[in-house]
Symmetry: D3
Subunit: 249 residues, 6 copies
C-alpha cells in the first residue's frame, strides 16, 4: 500500500525550517512540513502573569491561530466570533506545556516568552509542527537574552519535537497529512525529548477504540519521527546546536 | 510505601453510583469516587446541531462545570467571567468524544443527548469520574427512549469508563486523589471500553518526561482500574446491564 | 379546594436542612423544600471589593445558578451563553441584599463572604429557599471565623428567611410549587426577620393587578410561612442557635 | 420637618409630560419629575420574539439606559463594558412587565412594541418615571396603529403609573429625590392602575427591616402619588384620554 | 435645482446651540442642525489612561451613541448586542482626535475629559454636529477648571468645527440631510479650525470615484460651512469667546 | 534632505507582489512594500449577508489582522481580548468599501468574496498595501469564477490601489515607513482608480492642522504613487491584465 502522497507508512514529509523569517520577534521561524506551513515566533516580555510576581521565575506561554484562508473551507476569524474555540485552547495549552517542560523557568528571570504559532497553510499536523518550530524560535529568543548578557547559558534541559501518528484503514502511519487525518480511526500526537522520553502522548479513537498492540506500534512510529525531527532541528540551529549540546556540562 | 489515604498503589477509591439522583433529566446519576462527587445527567433534546440537520443522525455532547465551592479555593464562576476556560473546554470535549465513541449515532435519530457533568466536590479525577458516571446516565436516557418506543434496542457498542493514573515520586499509582495529583510528575487519563481497548490515552509529563517503561506500567494500572469500574457500572445498571449485554446479538 | 399536592392553602412544603453537605466551603447546606433542592455554600475570602478597600468593613455577596437539568426543559448554561441572564442577576442581587441586612459588616473585617446558591432541582421557590438556606451556611461560616478567633461573637442582628406566596385562581396560597407558580396571577416573595419585620416585599401582578385586600392576605401568609422557617432554622442550627440567641445581650 | 427641596412628606415633584419629543418613534415622550428627565419612546416592529411566532400574539418589551453624564459621577457606558448591569436588567424587566400588564397582547397582532427609556438626567425615581412616561408613549404608538387601521380600538385595560416611596430618618416620604433616596432606610416602588390596584410592589429594607405599619403607610403614600400621576397622564393625552376611557364599553 | 428642504447648494441648516442643557456634566450642550439633535457633554475625571500615568499630561476622549429611536428604523442598542459597532468606533475615534488637536494636553494636568455625544434625533451629519457641539462643551468644562483655579487660561489653540459635504446627483452640496446623504455618490466630512486649516478630511466615493475638480469644490463648500459654524460657536460662547480669543497673547 | 531609508520625498518603496502564495484560497497574494508584508487572500463563499438575500446581488467584505509579532512591541491577539479594536474595524471597513467601489456586485451573483489581509510584518502603510494586494487577490478569485463558467467577463470597473502620504517635519513625503509615520504631523491615505480618480481621501492632522497648499501637494504625491502601483499590479497580473483591460468593450 502506498499513501496518498506516495510516502512509506513510516516516512515523514519534507521539512523546511527557516529562521529569522520576520524581523521584529526575538525568534521567528517558518516551519514547513509538506504543505503545512506555520510561522512560529518567540517574543520576550519583561513581566510575568500575576501568579508568578515576585517569585524570580519566568513563564513560557503559547498562542495558536489559523489564518482564515489556511484551510480548504474558510475559517471564521476567532476575533470576529469574539471567542477562542475549544480546539484552539487545547492546542495552545499543549504547546505551552510542551515547551515549559524543557526550559528552566527559574533561569530566565521574571520574563514571559510568548510563542505565537500562526498557521499560514494547514495540511495536517499543525499542532505538532507548531511545537517543533516553536522550539527553534525559543532557542533564538534565548540566544538574544544571552547576547545581551541577561543569561549565561541556555536554560534548556532537552530538545523537544512532536509528530502525529494514526491508524488509517487498518494501517498505522507516521505524520498524517490532512487527507489521511480526516479518515483516521485513531489519531495520536506524540511529543518527545531528544533523550527518547515522552512529554505528551494524546491518542484518540473516536471512530473506533484501539488495542494495546496498535498503541505500541504508534508509539514506535512516533519515536522514529521525532528522532528525525530533532536531527533537522540541530541542522537548522547550526552553531547554536553545539552550544545547547554543552548545556549539561 | 503507603498512599496518603492508605490505599495500595494499584487500588481505586470506593465508588458509589446513585441512579435517578434528580427527577427531571432522562438520566441522572451521582457518582462518588472517594471524596470526588459529580452529578451526571443526560437530557434528550429533539434537535441536532446545524451540521447534522437532515442527516437522520443524532449527536451526543457534554458540558462540564465545577460548583464554586467544590474546590479548596473558591473557583470563580465561568458565567461571571463571561467565558469558559480552556481547561473546561478540554474536559467537555474529552467527555463528549468518549461517549460518542460507544454509541451508534445513526440509531438515535435526529436528537441531541446532552451530558451535563457538574462537580459538587472535587478531590482529583473529576473528568474521569464524569465519563464513568455519564455512561450510566446515557444508558438511562436511552432506556427512556426505548420505553417510549423511539428505539428498539440499546445503540451501544461498548461500556466505557475512565480512570486517572500517574507517577508520584518515582511510583506509578492508580486513581490519584487531589493531594497526589498536585505533586504528580506524570499524569495520565485512560478511557477504555469493557473489551479492554483504548478510547483515549492522554499522558502529560510537565514536571519531567517519562520513559516507555513508565508508560507501559501506567497503561497496565489503567486497565486494572477500568476493569473494576465496568464491573461497578454493571452492578449499578442491574437488569439493564443484561439488556445491553445482548446488544451484539 | 385542595392544592395540586394536597396541602392546605396556608401550609408550607416539607423542609429539610442538611448542614456540612460538602467539605471545602466554610458553610455548606442542602436545603430541600418539597422537590426544590438548593446547595447553599458560604466561602470566606480575605479581600473585599474595591469600594470597600481600607474601610475595615466586610462584604456579603451571592451568586445563584441552576444546573442545566434542574428544570423540566434543560436550561442552557449561562457560561455557554457568555452572559448572566437578567433573572439570575435579579435573584443574586436579592439574596445578597437580604443577607447583608442581618449581618454587621463592620464586625467581620475586610473579608468577603460568598454565598453560592446552586439549584439542583427546581420546583418553585428557588430564590426564597436560597435565602433561607444561605442564612444557615452563613452562620456556619461565621462559626468558623469564631472558632479560629477572628470574631468574638456572631455579628448577626436577626434570623432571616423567605417564602413565596401568590394568588392562584382567586385563592391566596402559601409556598407555591412550580405548577402553582406557573399559573399564578399574582406572585410575591417575602423576606422577613425572626422579629416579624419585612426585609423585602416583591409582589408582581403580571396577569392581573391585585387589590389592597389581596396584598394584606398575602403578607399574612408570608408571615405565617416565615415563622415556621425560622423555627426550622433554629432546629437545624442546634447548639449554635442558642449562641446566636444571646446576640443582643 | 421639611424636605430637602421644601416639599411636604406627601407631595410629588412638579411633573411635565412632553409628547412628540422626537420625530421618528411612533410614540415619543419626555417626562420630567423635578430634575429627573427621561426620554420614553415606543417603536413598533413587525415581528415578535421566537417564542411568540405564529401565535397571533404581540409583545411589549422595554430597554433602559442612563446617559453617561446623567448622574453626578459619570457612569461608564454599558456598551463599552460589553455587558448590561444587573440593575439595568432589573429595571427593564420591571418596565416591560408593568406595561404588559395593562395591554391586550392578542389585540396588537404579531408585533413588538419597544419601549426605550433613556435617562437624560437622574435625580431619583428614574424607573418609576420611565413607567409613567412609557405609558403615554405606548398610547401614542397604539394611536398610530389605530390611525393606519391596524387596530380598531385601544387594547388597553387600565392606565398605569409608578412612584417611589421610602422611609428617610423615621419618616415615610412620597417621591424621593436622589438626596433622599441615598439615605433612605426603606425604599419602595409602587406601580398601580387607575383603578387603584397594585401591579408591582417592591420594597427593600437594606439598612433596616420595616414593620407592617411602615409598609401600610408607604402603600398609602404610593396610592396618593399614583392618583395624581394618572390625572397628569390624562391631561397630557388630551382627546386621546377620552377615547381610552371608552375602552370598556 | 432646489434641495429637498429648499436650501441652496451652499447653505447650512439652521443651527441652535443650547449650553447647560443638563446639570451634572461640567459642560453640557444640545446642538441642533436642522432635525439632527445631539447632546454633547464634557465630564472631567481626575485620572488618565495607563499610558499617560505620571507624565503630567491629560487626555481627551469621546464616546458616541445613538438612542434606539433616533433613527427611522429602530437601532439595536449596542449594550444589548454586547459590542460597539465599527461605525461607532470610527466616529468616536474621529471626535476624540479632532478635539485633541486643538487642546494643549500638557496644560490640563493628569485629567481625562470625556466627551459624550448622544444622538437624540438623526437627520444626517451627526458626527460633524458632535464635533461642533463638543467643542462648546469642552470650553465649558475648561471654564469650570478655570473657575476652581486648576488652570489659569484656556489651553485652546483653535476653535474647531465640522461639516459634511457631498455630491448628490452631479451636484456638490453643503451640509447633507439624511435624505441627501443616503443618495450621495460622494460623501465627505471636513473638520477645520477657525484659522481656515484642515484637521480631518475624509472623503469616500463608494458609489463612484470622484475627480480632483469635485474634491476642490467640496473643500470650498466645507470651508464656507465651517466659517459659519465658528461664528455661531462664538455667539453661543458669549463672553467666554472673548477670553478664548485672548489665548495667543 | 534625505529620508531615513535614503529615498527621495516622492519615491515609493520597492514593491513585490507574489500571486498564489498559499494554495486553498481562490486568490492568494503576498504583497511587500519595503519591510511591510501582508498576505491578502480572496475566498468565495456561496452565500450573502442577510440584507442581500434574494436580491441576486453579491458582496465583497474585508477582514484585517496583524500577527502578534508583526510589530516592534508584541500586539495582544484580538481573539484573546475577545474584541476587535476600533483601529482594526476602521481599516477593514476601508478595505471593503474600496474594493466594492470597483466591482459590479450584481454581476457576481449571490456570493460573498472575503478579502483577508493578515499582516506578517508591519513597517507602515499596512492598510494601503492591503488594498493594493487585495485587488490582485480579488482578480484571481474572479478568474476562478470565470474559469468554472460562473461569470463571462471580469465585473471590474477600474483598477484600485492605495498609498499613504504625509507631512514629516515640514516636508510632504510619499509612502511613509513606520519611522516616518510615527513622527508625521499630517497623515493621509489615498485610494485611487487607474483613471486617476479618488475613491477615498483620509487625511488627519492630529499633531497640527494643515493648509490647503499642503493638502494639494499630498494629493499630487498620492497620484504619483498610485500611478506606479497600478503599473506594478498590471505587471503582476500578466495575461490577466489584458483581459481586464478589455472590460469596457
Amino acid at each position: 500500500m502506498t499513501r496518498v502522497d506516495g510516502r512509506n507508512f513510516d516516512e515523514i514529509r519534507p521539512v523546511t525550517i527557516t529562521r529569522n523569517y520576520t524581523k521584529y520577534a526575538h525568534g521567528s521561524v517558518l516551519i514547513e512540513m509538506g504543505e503545512t506551513k506555520v510561522i512560529c515566533t518567540a517574543t520576550i516580555e519583561d513581566k510575568v502573569p500575576p501568579f508568578l510576581k515576585n517569585t524570580g521565575k519566568g513563564w513560557v506561554t503559547a498562542e495558536y491561530s489559523m489564518l482564515p484562508a489556511s484551510t480548504q473551507i474558510r475559517k471564521i476569524r476567532e476575533s470576529s466570533r469574539g471567542k477562542v474555540e475549544g480546539r484552539t485552547q487545547e492546542i495552545q495549552r499543549l504547546i505551552g506545556r510542551a515547551l515549559r517542560s524543557v526550559i528552566d523557568l527559574d533561569a530566565i528571570g521574571e520574563r514571559t516568552i510568548w510563542l505565537d504559532c500562526d498557521v499560514i497553510q494547514a495540511d495536517g499536523g499543525t499542532r505538532t509542527a507548531s511545537i517543533t518550530g516553536s522550539f527553534i524560535a525559543l532557542i533564538d529568543a534565548l540566544n538574544h537574552l544571552k547576547s545581551i548578557g541577561q543569561i549565561k547559558k541556555f536554560p534548556i534541559k532537552n530538545y523537544i519535537s512532536a509528530i502525529s501518528v494514526g491508524v488509517v484503514g487498518e494501517k498505522p502511519l507516521l505524520d498524517l497529512c490532512y487527507k489521511e487525518d480526516s479518515t483516521a480511526k485513531v489519531d495520536m500526537n506524540i511529543v518527545m525529548t531528544d533523550q527518547g522520553e515522552f512529554v505528551e502522548v494524546q491518542g484518540t479513537g473516536e471512530e473506533a477504540p484501539f488495542s494495546r498492540k496498535d498503541l505500541l506500534e504508534l508509539l514506535r512510529l512516533g519515536e522514529l519521527g521525532n528522532q528525525q525531527l530533532v536531527k533537522l532541528q540541530k541542522e537548522a540551529l547550526g552553531e547554536l546546536a553545539a552550544e545547547i549540546g554543552r548545556r549539561e556540562e
